[in-house]
Subunit: 336 residues, 4 copies
């Protein structure tokens, strides 16, 4: 029996992440290599609702390999939270005679696929694309490596001025509700403190302020110099500025605040994101050929692994315990 030659559609959804273009390019080249047709919908699921799309060709996608953002644009889509919206999306896919839809995005985007599956009978393949690295069943999400590199390079600069002034800095990094960025960045920049969900739970805030105060005071005695606190967003009630205020009121410690913000989303993807996105993009087209459905493809220990979409939405990916230990050990060694 001969397999029908698929027509494949792609969209990028949710917060954009560096490397999404590399994924789109790999999917496009793999489709052309296999003689498949390939189109892209714009603005995440909104492109399905509004029937906004373009044909994806090598000429279009090749120059985007090294570019940040996503040529298909991204967006969150409220319509997908309604059954009318989901039906509308399914209709557009039927209208274009799409065999498989590949969605690059985070857990919200995958939830959209769970809904879409109720209304549409084509194949659905997800690729993990978010800077936050908060998707289980993959070692890293597309965009994480670049976000971490951008944040670390920014903090290297902040360290220069912090050293010049021998100053305490609180740097807030992204990560939504996980500490992957905070720990990777904090360890890579030698941050004196990393405050994240994994080592700093809400009821402990008072204890944390005490620890910070003791550590900063102790360091000032051991050696002068800067003291860098990397803080995950959404961690401290009121954000980094509230922490700054608490340090001042509690212990008369002056500090400066930097919220790195959206620079962490953009920029040319680093090599690791380009390679990861290329690998998963190629694998996604292979997965379509292999009749896979309702799975996310992630890289684990160098291999592409398919996991049921609902597992990726439910499961939590913890920060490797090694990093928490490494952070404690580094601090202890520094003050020894």
């Amino acid at each position: 029996m001969q397999l029908k030659r698929p027509k494949i559609a792609v969209l990028t959804s949710g917060g954009d992440a560096p490397g999404m273009n590399a994924a789109i390019r790999a999917i496009t080249l793999a489709c052309h290599s296999s003689g498949y047709s390939c189109i892209g919908f714009f603005h995440g699921y909104n492109g399905l609702i509004d029937d906004e799309w373009c044909e994806l060709t090598p000429r279009l996608v090749n120059p985007t390999l090294q570019q940040g953002g996503t040529l298909l644009k991204s967006a969150r889509c409220k319509a997908m939270l309604t059954s009318d919206g989901v039906k509308q999306a399914a209709n557009t896919l039927y209208k274009h005679d799409i065999d498989a839809l590949i969605v690059v995005g985070g857990d919200g985007s995958f939830r959209g696929m769970l809904e879409l599956e109720k209304e549409w009978r084509g194949q659905l393949i997800g690729l993990p694309g978010t800077i936050d690295n908060d998707l289980a069943h993959c070692d890293a999400t597309i965009g994480f490596a670049t976000a971490v590199q951008t944040a670390a390079s920014a903090i290297d600069k902040i360290r220069d001025t912090a050293n010049a002034f021998e100053r305490v800095f609180i740097v807030e990094v992204m990560g939504r509700h996980s500490g992957h960025i905070a720990f990777a960045v904090g360890l890579a920049t030698g941050a004196e403190a990393i405050l994240s969900f994994e080592n700093c739970q809400p009821p402990q805030h008072d204890a944390i302020l005490s620890e910070l105060t003791t550590a900063i005071t102790q360091q000032q005695q051991v050696r002068h110099g800067s003291y860098l606190i990397v803080c995950a967003e959404n961690l401290w009630p009121g954000g980094a500025s509230a922490l700054q205020k608490a340090l001042k009121e509690r212990a008369a410690i002056d500090s400066a605040v930097c919220i790195l913000g959206h620079i962490q989303r953009g920029g040319s993807p680093v090599v690791n994101d380009r390679l990861l996105a290329s690998k998963l993009g190629l694998a996604a087209v292979e997965a379509v050929e292999q009749q896979q459905h309702m799975v996310m493809l992630g890289e684990i220990a160098g291999n592409v692994v398919a996991t049921a979409l609902n597992a990726t939405v439910q499961d939590h990916k913890p920060v490797a315990s090694f990093w928490l230990k490494a952070h404690r050990s580094a601090l202890k060694g520094d003050l020894a």
Copy 2:
């Protein structure tokens, strides 16, 4: 008559700026080339108050040419606002038998020199070191080129995600009370709007909101895409977040805010700052030889020009009118 071989001291004061190390290095090498002695005081004028210093040698300064921050540390110094403090500083200079003090800093640092001159009879030479470029009588201050490059590179990244989401962004840049950074960065990144002291005075805030609203709406009709507002710090009452809120309340325009902050102070100096600082550092030692006193050395049209310190403190350096015109022209062309 033979000139006495001078003993020269250096300090970096006020907000640190990339290139300060290059200036210290050039002064040190020029001193060694001429057989002079050279020492550095730490933490700005505090090093004079507290007698904290080190000998400056080629071996120490050479590796710092490409490093941000300042090996002599920097600080603001409240003691220099008191006559006791100034006397203390003068005593330290007498104690070390210093012939000339070279200060790298901004207008606050130069005011310290005006005070010091009353109590100390050595030569005083200032070099313009501040990222804000708000010192008259020089084309650019040491640090400005790097700050502008760092901010522009950050905004290039923000543009990626702004494009992906077709979103309005308000990016706040440094500059204290001048728009040099805002205009250079805004023009270099193709910002759709630049809000700075030069084109946006306090009483006009209401008019500005109207203009912004019109322009954003108009652009959405001409073409989709991102809309980037570069806003000078200290300009909008309440800062970028207040502007964000005003846009939302006034015109239901959603926007995101990024405050670039201290990343603009750090990082390896760009070539222009290394060359400028090297040039002025060498010139400072020559100026000492030529018995100059109470001047700031700045580069104007490629030449080193000496200006009386009190003039540098009083005079205002406007943003070149060409840039205001260029910005208006670019906007008009974009929407034509």
Copy 3:
């Protein structure tokens, strides 16, 4: 009398330089701002020979502001060395009813304009675009600042490994037949030796080898560490590898060679190149309005200055003597 509304054409010619896109963009926006028509010819003068062109619109040019290369492509064009080719080019300009042609390029490109003027009666305006900075009557050419920054960043990396191995490195930089890049890069990276046309003439090669040998030996006695020689391309007969061989044979000095090559041509333009190109692009459209003809527009001391094209082709721009002096002084101080 009413001025005819011009139709303006642009081309980029000769070696491409970062910032050419920014110039094309500024010309395009200025044209749209004034209601002019604006088209671009591809591949330098070849686009005139072959009638290959595109309309230039804000939507097309805006995203290129921060991109290296040139959207209009560039090339050298042999046909322009023949009278038939020049006539063909003129015919294309007549056919499109072009009023003014703006050429961004180096002295070879300007020579093409001198020929074209014999056959075509429209206005001709040149903008200095070459990484080599070897055009007189302007402080810097478009592309120079980026090339220098790229080369300096590369040499900063080489310094790391040179330090680790305490090794002599010969780094060859671009510049055609001038030392602007060599001196800017060498001084910005603290190179121990800069070999360029300005301080190293062909008959002196033997003397230079002696000096190098003495200096390297002397440094090894004063302090261990790396020794970095920045060498202009086209300077040493046989290039950097021949110099390496000569050092080995003459004085048993081992060294490593790096030829930076074409990385110096590419990359996102630095802020200075974006601003310079934007300024000159806007000024070029103004110059058309002012009926200027057969001039190059360059920035001198912050002002846009028009110079007759034949002067730009004939005159030589020397490296500022300050830099030669600075280099000698730094070396003397380092070994003092």
Copy 4:
């Protein structure tokens, strides 16, 4: 029974790699955290021969986390190829009462440990430090990620100028006798051809020239544009220049050559190298505590794995077959 508190020594050996400083820092901090003594020998094994060393303290190592090169310097050491040299090295270790020696380097450095083991009874632990990634039993060597990022960023720049001129470029990358760098860089930059040991064996050179000629010609028909060949060093007899010449003679194809060279060794380590080096550095001190000996610690699938040193010297690490397949697929898709 109480374990004796070890005195640990570190050295970096062979070609230096970004991240070596991060490894030294992690070892130092872990030692201080555990109350061990920690010293470093300079210039690889030469420091053992010549008894050149320094104490490693947090104050010394902390600022080097983000710096390229190695504060302990590196070198190759001929004396370790003689039995007298090895005995001398052992004597120095006895003299300093060293319990464990940690060597960061490549296979040559590990061979030195195999020799040293014959003469010295302390513990020997190796960490994989080389940009070439040519050590088996670890996913990546320290320095590989940075080298690949630097090379890819350089090639992104070359692509700009290659596009502007629609030109064929041959870019030679490092890697000694393996294609890890060539494949990672080639895939990450969308190179049209990757020539490496894995897909291009010596006897096939003639066939390769034919394939290249066909592919370049074919691409020129499908689309204009640049054609980028990434070529591993030591692959083509005579190097990239010989390949350039062969393309010209064989098929009249003009091309430009860039040899990226030593820029690939230097520069601030990327986050992945900082994290990998920190992890392995901490693990090395743990391994000492656990009485491990004659092993290399590598990261495999996120875990630290110890492998017998002689296995690491003998075994070959192939480039993942996925990448060869990905490269073929991308090319096929591009030309489809």
